[in-house]
Amino acid sequence: MKKKLSPAFRDKLVTSGIVVVFFALCLILTAAGATSNQFRGLIVPIAIYIILAVSLNLTVGVLGELSLGHAGFMCVGAYVGSIVSLLLGDVIENGYLRFPIALLCGGVIAGVFGFLIGIPVLRLRGDYLAIVTLAFGEVIKTIVRNLYIATDAAGLHINFTAIADMDLDPDTQKIIVNGAMGISGSPRDSKMWIAALLVLLTVVVVMNLVDSRAGRAFMSVRDNVIAAESVGVPVVRYKLLAFSVSAFFAGIAGVLYSHNLSSISPSTFDYNLSIMILVYVVLGGIGSIRGSIIAAALLYALPELLRALNTYRMVIYAVILITMMILNNNEKFKGKLSRFSPKTLLDRMKRKGGDRI
């Protein structure tokens, strides 16, 4: 007899399958020259927003804590990643060697920020995390807006006033971070296939984490903290773990972002971006990894693809948002939809076969 797949495993297979098929199609079509310029330009950003939504869902949907500062962690990742790449630029010429280092540094430092913010806040009950992460996002933005980093023959210079105050050697100077102007000249290391691999990595890691004792601990905290404590779940430790992992992947998305554009500016990483990611998570279905993936891809790409429609663009977008929201919360619709899910269809076919014998 064939070994029966557990429902959790089948679920993960379908979700990773969606990611693989989607990006494989994108890559193949691009390689064949069948994609438009505009579409090609969307692939890496779609990957970035999928990573952001999936990682935020770990905090919001699985752990059940509201975070309004995801763009802040993305910002940390973007800056750290670009600084590392620019500093290493002369030492390691090969992008395929340099980029993993930038990714790792960006992700880890963002994760550390998550951990440090989590320590005081996650001990408290209530929506304190929302308030503190909201503030964190704004503070980070303000800090990097005033951050200046440059190198010259004398070494590394960092201050919070101006490049002009650094007395740089004009022959060897290299400006890395330029205050409100952000960072320009990051190597364009965010290749399509690397972005696709990182999405797959994020999705698999998050799904494996959720389907483990750690993930069950997260969900127990979400569903009932008091009960979780009563069966011995170290609540604070698991909250910190979920939140740090979530920040780590936001950092990874940030590195991808800053290596996809010729320049980044601090104002990108604002409150609106955090809210947009949260909207993807909510509309995709709180706690559903697959939902986050689909919502992020669709909702990011749609307004871009609708640009041709110009005036009606935002109207159509708003209608789609509202429709998704209504369908998402409609039990009747969900019931109807599940009648057409592969599982129910299979079950029905099996039952028919059984009747015949």
Binding site: L209, A214, G215, E229, S230, G232
Partner: protein, 252 residues
């Protein structure tokens, strides 16, 4: 050996003495009842024992070890598990996963082995699934293992709470009104399940209950609380004959 000792235990909420000067000793393997009229402070005693509330005065010993004021999760790991009067399940998780949360401290593996699906992950998960299914079948929940806990009937939810508590391998099990909302036949079944659990799991049980048939049927010793204070204490039959206890209940 004494599994639980409450010494001079008390807690105040504002001016209200919810529990005052309570002394209780429970021996290993005993089935002990805590009864009293509504608002007497019974659930508060459970919350004190499990560290949900910190006592204003007095101390709590588990197998001779002072656990007063320890965090709830630590007290569970020391050997006390409970159910709740207002059911508190992990409602968006499956029935099996509810039990597996309770098993997590017994079958540890690292986050990395979970992410990389290392053999230690597979081994622990397999053992956990077997143990969870065994526990569920004891409580007749085997067929519901893959349902969401929220979709269980009320009676089954109460049973799942007991299964989840037992998953943590407690020395002392606290049951807060396990028969609430059950019909006489279900209560009858519950009584034999509780006895079975005590014998099978070698666990000491302290239970709160209003159903006098259940109390007189399975409890060996009783403490009666009234307005946060001990009204009577001793072997069940004696206590239930005590005129003060009868008045407290009739006067309700």
């Amino acid at each position: 050996m004494n599994v639980l000792e409450l010494k001079n235990l008390g807690i105040q909420f504002g001016g209200l003495h919810a529990v005052e000067d309570l002394n209780v000793t429970i021996r290993e393997g005993e089935l002990y009842g805590l009864i009293g009229p509504n608002g007497a402070g019974k659930t508060t005693v459970f919350n004190l024992i499990t560290g949900v509330y910190k006592p204003t005065v007095g101390s709590i010993f588990l197998c001779g070890k002072d656990i007063t004021g320890k965090p709830t999760a630590e007290i569970n790991r020391a050997g006390i598990a409970r159910t709740f009067q207002n059911i508190r399940l992990f409602s968006e998780m499956t029935v099996r996963d509810n039990v597996k949360v309770g098993l997590m401290n017994e079958y540890p593996y690292s986050v990395f082995s979970a992410i990389l699906r290392l053999p230690s992950y597979r081994k622990a998960e397999k053992a956990m699934n077997e143990k969870a299914d065994k526990l569920l079948s004891i409580f007749d929940l085997g067929d519901s293992a893959d349902l969401l806990a929220a979709n269980l009937s009320y009676g089954k939810q109460r049973k799942l709470e007991i299964a989840r508590a037992l998953a943590t391998e407690p020395k002392l099990l606290l049951l807060d009104e396990p028969a609430a909302g059950m019909n006489p036949q279900e209560t009858e079944e519950l009584m034999s399940t509780i006895r079975f659990v005590r014998d099978e799991f070698k666990v000491t049980i302290l239970l709160i209950e209003h159903d006098m048939r259940l109390v007189s049927g399975i409890c060996e010793e009783l403490t009666v609380l009234n307005f946060g204070r001990e009204l009577a204490q001793g072997p069940t039959a004696e206590v239930l004959r005590d005129p003060r206890v009868v008045t407290a209940y009739l006067g309700e």
